[in-house]
Symmetry: C2
Subunit: 341 residues, 2 copies
């Protein structure tokens, strides 16, 4: 089977965005703040938003299952305070859970967290618990920069983040390291901030010993690892310069990259440089790059075509499409096994 | 001949660093501020610092000429005010000029600017003029984030920067877009901040029309363009999504990438994806990655080996080693021609 470990609910019914706009408009005016219960989206609307979009494309491309989380750019943790993020995360996570119930063979949920700048990440635990225990989430998305491009949180290797890691280890769920919208005019959200965050997170891990403290903690760095595989020699050399172990020993037991790289040469580089056991198939469809590449006549984000065209053996292809996802997301594997897959 | 367009004076005599430390220690105490004239470095010291280091490696690697600028991580524009940056830039630029006079066949200078956070870039013009007119500089290094990792300047496409561009166009000198030390603990300087800045700068240009205002303005994006070539499909798709022209028409008349990518697969990707006319040979030697790669037994930053090993024709190799540099750096070309090269 083919598992796409990186999909967001980018096509949610318009009522969701309308509710969020009301929430944002009411910042600082508690009386005007909409209640979560005021958002009403029926199952038919959910079905339609998925069938016409993600599910249609999954069928066209032969993708069996998507790990499905709330729209990354809409997490916008920089907006409002913890209470605002908390209500918003609960709503978004519930919608992804409902999608996973409506299409249990095609979607399995991953959670966004109610992060908020300057707020102790421990405040995210109750939502994390709810999403894993009640909603069957198999992973979380962790935003290393809840400020939205001002980068004023401690590095991911700082004990600041440990409460989340402790819970991740307890539940054996990985985190995709994924920022949200940039509110810093220097950084285009999907063209700079996302890729920069991927590179930044990897380098934070390189310079520290986080995985000595949490040997089973697992991070998935999306968008093909940002700049990391392209500069793999630089990172190997920097690790050497800094007296760190070989990257393979230091990081590759805990860090994984997805295949959200939207052209053949990029995927070929990724597969050439990074061990196959650390690469997980993904497309982030429907996401930032929705068009058709005039050079190929195919969707840019149809990453299956690139992986299929790559010069790799069947065992490697199986690992990337399915095996690694089952290993890195044990709750996904358990769910599949319970269904006889 | 082989021209390396990206070298910094990372091996300057210790007296330079000692002077800078005194300058930093005197911030806020004008009476303690050292004078530029208190820094005394003799020609023999300069010669030794170059002959034992950059020049030795250039000879070993068969590099004929290096475009040589002050140490990027030491620019540290975030320290002090304009006056502090101004004195520091003048000192550093003078040293690179002196190196270029001592070794006129091997080094040609490029200038750092006395940028300072929140200060009008027009204040950099007089140093730029001095470096071009008196010191024969053929390029400048422009820091898109003088804050050192807080990214609170307007994007490079904002009229904020136009005074510098006007002078660049007048002199026909390109700018390498190069940040300095990160003082933001999120960003490792050479493992994250440098690469992020490269990606960020490219995306800033993609979303705007800077080169319509300055058709002859030229930016060199170092470190192989950050994440850009690896994600070339993403950038092509984002340009399409945003209704921009094809990248080739929109940006590749004005933006160039260097070859500071420290392993063969990265260089191969760069050469496969980016038109040869937009790639300029460089190593940033002696820089961030000084060690020997245990996988090859060669220096990581010996980028000539990767370019030599790449499957490209002789015309392409000539363009990357020499032809493009002469075209993008016309004052370099003129200097070489004046010497009969």
């Amino acid at each position: 089977m083919i598992i796409d470990i990186h999909g967001h609910y980018t096509t949610a019914p318009k009522a969701l965005e309308a509710w969020r706009k009301r929430q944002i408009a009411a910042l600082g005016d508690p009386a005007a703040m909409p209640k979560a219960s005021e958002l009403r989206i029926g199952d038919d609307e959910l079905r339609e938003s998925i069938e016409a979009n993600q599910l249609r494309l999954m069928r066209e491309r032969g993708i069996d299952l998507t790990v499905f989380s709330p729209r990354a750019s809409f997490m916008a943790h920089h907006i409002g305070d913890f209470s605002v993020s908390s209500t918003w995360a609960a709503i978004c996570n519930e919608l992804c859970y409902r999608v996973s119930r409506l299409f249990p063979d095609s979607f399995i949920p991953a959670a966004m967290l109610p992060q908020s700048p300057g707020v102790d990440p421990a405040t995210c635990i109750s939502e994390l618990v709810r999403c894993v225990e009640e909603y069957g989430n198999v992973a979380i998305n962790l935003n290393p920069d809840p400020s939205g491009g001002h980068w004023n949180s401690p590095p991911l290797t700082d004990p600041h983040w440990y409460p989340i890691y402790e819970k991740m280890v307890e539940y054996d769920v990985p985190a995709m390291i994924h920022v949200s919208t940039s509110c810093n005019p220097s950084f285009h959200t999907t063209g700079a901030h996302y890729l920069n965050a991927d590179t930044t997170a990897f380098m934070q891990c390189l310079t520290a010993d986080l995985f000595r403290d949490f040997p089973t903690l697992r991070f998935v760095i999306p968008h093909g690892g940002g700049a990391v595989p392209y500069h793999w020699g630089r990172f190997r050399g920097l690790a050497q310069e800094l007296g760190r172990p070989l990257l393979r020993d230091h990081l590759l037991g805990n860090i994984f990259f997805d295949t959200c790289v939207y052209h053949q040469p990029g995927i070929d580089l990724l597969l050439r440089v990074i061990p196959a056991g650390n690469i997980l198939f993904a497309s982030e469809m429907i996401g930032a790059v929705r068009g058709i590449d005039p050079e190929t006549g195919r969707y840019y984000d149809d990453t299956r075509r690139y992986v299929d065209a790559a010069h790799i053996g069947e065992a490697t292809r199986y690992a990337i499409y399915e095996g690694n996802a089952r290993r890195v997301y044990p709750r996904l594997d358990a769910t599949l096994k319970a269904k006889g897959h």
